[in-house]
Amino acid sequence: MLSRLGLVLALILLRAAPTLAAELRDLQPAVVDGRVEVSFQLADAFGDGVMERIQSGLPTSFVYRVTLLRDRHRWWNDELAEATLEVVAMYNAVSQEYLVNFKRDGKLVESRLARSRAELESAMTRFERVPMFTTSDLQGGPGSRFLLKARAELGSKTWLSFIPIHVDTDWTASRKFQLREP
């Protein structure tokens, strides 16, 4: 009896377990003109479910949380600054266009129209050299090494039909870098 109950519970948990295995890749920092620009892409996040949700007209957002840290040898890294980049997509069914808004730390920095799924997916998941920090945020000596950590918050879903849970990717770390501009 107990084994049957355990089996049923296991099935429920397996069914309720998140199937999306999105991850942030290619997190690359670049120091240009006193700014730290960040490039990355989100893989395996833009599924049919996301597309259906966008096409239903619901504003759908991905929030990218990027943290700048100073590397410390054999010790916890020192968190220097944090920035968010929120990408919100809205579909216009009459014009059949996707309006994509980019907000950094809550402020609208860019709006873009996408007319296809590929264009939309690229706008929402691929980022090249997005300025996120200024070098004035960075503290440390000339030899200090820094790194970035980022993750994406993809909204939420319900577990066991009534427990809402956040859907996030794991933290992804960049290579370590110094304040030497190319």
Partner: protein
């Protein structure tokens, strides 16, 4: 004061309950409002799942609150049960009942309502609805796409007419406008614009279309057309309602390259609105469908919140009601335990309602009554102890007094058990205290001698009337003389008996006071014998004097030479007579000294009395002698001759003492198994001081005789185990009473 505190506590409780009810009402109202408004919640809010998280955490808090309330109660109940507190089991049952009664219906209602809700949500997304909306939206989109295609077609046609158009000559613009205007009218368009890539060149507008201002095609559309592509896009008109369908196509051969022609056709407001509504409706439906899990979850969470609120309230109320019942019962149980432990000052001070209030009040009244009773009992105990101490002191004093008096005192209770016996009594009776104390008097005096004292205790009447034993004689009223042989010695005691009675008169026991008369009697007897010797000497001397005188007369005559014949004859006669007197006197003494042992037999008292009375009837004129024999006292068990002698002695004395006119009565009677022989006269009586010596030998009030008559009578009566007493016979005279055993 207690009532006031109880009142305040109840008022506080009532306020608390009222506040809780108000809070619950507010919560329920808020939830209901939220439930109603949840349909109109902005999509963004729902889409971001903010509502879900808020609801979820509210539910978590409520679940924790319910669990806390339940766990706290269960933990307390477990502790109480483990501590074996009285009433814990009852409280457990009550709490389980109340919580179960609230929990089960609420959970059933939650499950049932949840199922209904899910079914309702499913019905919202029923297939027919989705199909109608999708088809409607498709129709609207097809209309738009058709309009776009038509506009594109017209744009292509006009663009081909504009092939080779030079765009960088401003002077050509007026001519271009004149070329565009007929095309606008011919193709029934509302807008025609020429752009160089994304830059505006010129445009014509149908003045009847009411666009108000030039529309602005989207840059991306212009750029797409500039590189050779085509693009169509419906946009809202600059002014007014409707939908302006723009189509951008490249102008072939334009100089420079990148010329774009944009054609616009305005859909009528009615068509545009309907189209938009159809598309919007389907979009909204799709949004709802996309949000279906979230909507379902939010509904479940809202309903769960309501359920938990109700459950929390009902559980709390259940526990509160259980506490209202169990608290007084527990307090009563605790009170019972305390009171059984002796703490009568404990009071149950728990507010209760209805019958429980009556029970608590009755319990407190009972406790107060018990406390009052105990206080009174303690006071009475103290009083009794004080009285006992006083009694003990008095008893000690009494014992000291009794021990110090020369008289022996023996007291027996109602069961004739000795409870008091002083040292004098023990010494008189030659007994120890151990033999006497707390033992029945009949065991204490079981021997032949001391048993003679028992008749004094047999009954009030017997004791008052005198003992039937020959050794017990009535000395005077209330006292008896008893002679015993103790330790080989004759002892004579004067015994007085008194009844001990309760204040209400009921018998309590008896007390005997013994006075040792042995020495006194011995002294009296010595004195009596002295008197007897004196009188014997006197009596002997009396005849000797005539004898001496007669002898001296004969001797004198003889010496004088006279004739002694006559004198001798007289003298001899006198001497003989006096010698006879002396002889009679000696005989009487001898008879007294040699009193024979009585030979008892059945005596016919009636005959004896009548015969004796007859002898004395005519002895003294004027003195009537009468006899009266009771039928039940016609016989006695005695020596007939000795009894007759005693009767004659008494009768003789009575007749001699009675002067004419007078009366002497001889009668018999029966009392308590004893026969009385009474001789009563109306003579001169006997002085009190003489009564004490009356039965002593040689005591006489007559001034003649030997004085042995009554001594002999007393001896005869004593030998018959009887008693004799002398009393006055009012108004004058004397009564002698002889009491003999009937047999």
């Amino acid at each position: 004061m207690r009532l006031l505190e109880s009142f305040h506590k109840r008022r506080r409780d009532a306020r608390f309950i009222l506040r809780m009810l108000v809070v619950l009402l507010i919560c329920l109202t808020a939830v209901f409002y939220l439930l109603q408004k949840s349909r109109d919640l902005p999509s963004l809010l729902v889409a971001n799942r903010v509502l879900l998280f808020v609801l979820f955490y509210i539910n978590v808090v409520l679940i924790l609150a319910v669990l806390f309330v339940l766990a706290r109660s269960i933990f307390k109940l477990l502790l109480e049960r483990r501590a074996r507190i009285l009433g814990a089991k009852f409280r457990t049952k009550l709490v389980a009942t109340y919580v179960g009664l609230s929990l089960v219906p609420v959970l059933v209602m939650f499950v049932y309502a949840n199922v209904l809700l899910q079914q309702s949500v499913d019905r919202w997304f029923a297939a027919p609805v989705e199909s109608v909306l999708r088809q409607g939206s498709a129709v609207a989109e097809n209309l738009l796409r058709s309009s776009e295609q038509a506009t594109l077609h017209d744009a292509r046609l006009i663009a081909s007419e504009l092939s080779g158009l030079e765009l960088d000559r401003p002077r050509q613009r007026a001519r271009l406008d004149r070329r565009l205007q007929p095309a606008l009218v011919r193709e029934d368009l509302d807008f025609l614009g020429v752009y160089r890539e994304a830059d505006f060149v010129t445009a014509v507008v149908d003045p009847d279309a009411g666009l108000g201002d030039l529309p602005e095609p989207h840059r991306s559309m212009l750029l797409e057309a500039a590189v050779g592509g085509e693009a169509a896009q419906p946009i809202p008109p600059p002014r007014g309602d409707g939908q302006l369908v723009l189509a951008a196509v490249p102008i072939p051969g334009s100089v420079p390259a990148g010329g774009v022609l944009v054609a616009g056709r305005l859909l009528s407001p009615g068509v545009a609105t309907q189209t938009n509504q159809l598309i919007d409706a389907y979009q909204q439906y799709r949004q709802l469908e996309t949000q279906k899990p979230e909507l379902r979850t939010s509904q479940v969470l809202i309903f769960l919140m309501v359920t938990l609120l109700v459950l929390l309230a009902s559980t709390w109320v259940g526990l509160y009601l259980a506490r209202q019942v169990t608290q007084p019962i527990e307090a009563l149980a605790e009170g019972t335990r305390r009171i059984s432990g002796g703490d009568l000052s404990h009071r149950v001070e728990v507010p209760a309602d209805d019958e429980l209030a009556v029970l608590v009040s009755s319990f407190n009244m009972m406790t107060a009554e018990l406390q009052r009773s105990r206080r009174e009992r303690e006071e009475r105990t103290q009083e009794l102890q004080a009285a006992n101490r006083q009694l003990a002191e008095e008893r000690g004093l009494l014992v000291a007094v009794l021990q110090s008096v020369a008289a022996g005192v023996i007291a027996v209770d109602r069961e004739e058990r000795v409870f008091l016996c002083n040292d004098a009594a023990l010494a008189m009776l030659r007994q120890s205290e151990a033999e006497v104390r707390d033992r029945p008097i009949r065991e204490v005096w079981a021997d032949d001698e001391r048993r003679k004292l028992l008749p004094l205790l047999e009954s009030d009447a017997a004791a008052d009337d005198g003992a039937g034993n020959g050794s017990v004689g009535r000395r005077d009223a209330g006292s008896h003389q008893v002679r015993l042989v103790l330790g080989g010695e004759w002892k004579t005691f004067e015994v007085k008996r008194a009844a001990l009675r309760e204040p209400d008169g009921s018998p309590l026991g008896q007390v005997l006071v013994l006075e040792d008369l042995t020495e006194l009697i011995r002294a009296q007897q010595l004195a009596a014998w002295n008197e007897a010797a004196r009188r014997i000497a006197h009596e002997i001397k009396n005849p000797l004097t005539p004898i001496q005188l007669a002898a001296e007369r004969v001797l004198r005559r003889h010496r004088q030479g006279q004739d002694v014949g006559e004198a001798l004859e007289d003298g001899v006669r006198i001497i003989v007579r006096e010698v006879e007197t002396l002889k009679a006197m000696v005989d009487e003494f001898s008879r007294f000294a040699r009193m024979p042992r009585p030979q008892p037999a059945d005596v016919d008292l009636a005959g004896m009395v009548q015969e004796t009375v007859k002898l004395y009837r005519s002895v003294k004129p004027g003195v009537e002698v009468a006899g009266d024999v009771a039928p039940d006292a016609a016989h006695a068990w005695a020596d007939p001759e000795q009894l007759r002698g005693a009767l004659i002695n008494l009768l003789d004395n009575a007749v001699e003492a009675t002067e004419a006119p007078g009366r002497v009565d001889v009668r018999t009677a029966r009392t308590d198994g004893r026969v009385q022989l009474v001789v009563a006269d109306t003579g001169r009586g006997i002085p009190p001081e003489a009564k004490e010596k009356l039965f002593q030998p040689h005591f006489s009030t007559k001034g003649r005789g030997t004085g042995l008559g009554l001594a002999i009578v007393n001896r005869v009566v004593a030998d018959h185990h009887g008693t004799i007493r002398v009393e006055d016979n009012p108004p004058r005279g004397t009564v002698f009473t002889i009491e003999l055993p009937a047999r």
